[in-house]
Symmetry: C2
Subunit: 185 residues, 2 copies
């Protein structure tokens, strides 16, 4: 395949679904069965552990992506989205195992993608507008593209959090590892 | 589980192996069957695609991790490691499908971990020293910790490269997505 000069792509619903479909199995492969000391590890301060992130993704599935898509389609700009609670997972995940969270996320994502498919969205639908409580007017296309990027953001965050555990142990190699040195290289 | 104040961990061989074991299935879950337009996508300029990254990981399996561990154990600081060729994958992957690269990486990683296990490394072995051609004296423990962090660095890179494809399409949400905005937030 010849390398293209372009480095971004226009939104395509089938491609977005291809990425969204893969997130539960990606997270399962990364995290299921890892020692708790790793799945509860964080980057210091108030940063999140992989366990926290899975709870956050579950909350997003329940309250953010499909619910907001429906608000856009049914009520347009007239009704701003509910604010998303970035801390809901701390109470909701209480006492749960990571495995049970991974399985719940997988089930919810399957349901979300079934619901998305049943909306039979047209290009005209993707242009429809809603109102974000802080960002103002957004389109359904932007919401769905953000869903994709948000998944990937959290996959990268989990990888970074795990790598951070060996920030000291890598010794002089630290300079070559942008995931630890923090450079985007 | 009570959240600990510590955000890094001491190296433990069994934990390192737990992470290293999961990388092939993580990459397979993320990438197998994704449209070529995504697996060959990059972040502009000379940045790597997911396809390039898998080739790089294969080359690392063949020439970097276990071979360097053996040099440390057999020759210590006397013999510097070979320099690692960061561009070998461009020729080596020529004409291959991504699926075949994913399968080769999985097979090579299994073999690497079998070989690692057969070394029966002791704590004293982990302190043994070798010489990196640029970084100078390093320990076997640092090499193995770097192997773990290097895997995770490339998982994060692939997630970032995929997310970058929608850098324009996310619209005003860009501000919230550190994977696109580039902030480590």
């Amino acid at each position: 395949m010849v390398r293209g000069a372009e480095s971004t792509r226009p939104f395509a619903l089938d491609e977005a679904i291809a990425v969204l479909t893969r997130t539960p199995s990606t997270l399962d492969a990364m995290l299921r069965g890892l020692p708790d000391d790793w799945t509860f590890a964080h980057e210091g301060g108030e940063t999140w552990s992989p366990y926290d992130v899975i709870g956050h993704l579950i909350h997003g599935e329940r309250t953010d992506w499909l619910p907001r898509a429906r608000i856009i389609l049914e009520q347009g700009e007239a009704r701003p989205f509910e604010k998303f609670d970035r801390f809901a997972q701390f109470a909701a995940s209480e006492g749960r195992t990571l495995t049970s969270l991974l399985e719940e996320f997988e089930m919810l994502r399957e349901q979300s993608l079934r619901d998305l498919s049943e909306l039979c969205l047209t290009d005209a639908d993707l242009d429809r507008r809603g109102r974000h409580p802080e960002l103002g007017v957004v389109t359904l296309r932007q919401l769905l593209a953000t869903w994709v990027a948000h998944d990937l953001d959290h996959v990268a965050q989990i990888a970074r959090t795990l790598a951070h555990q060996y920030a000291d142990e890598v010794g002089p190699w630290r300079a070559y590892l942008r995931i630890i040195s923090g450079t985007q290289g």
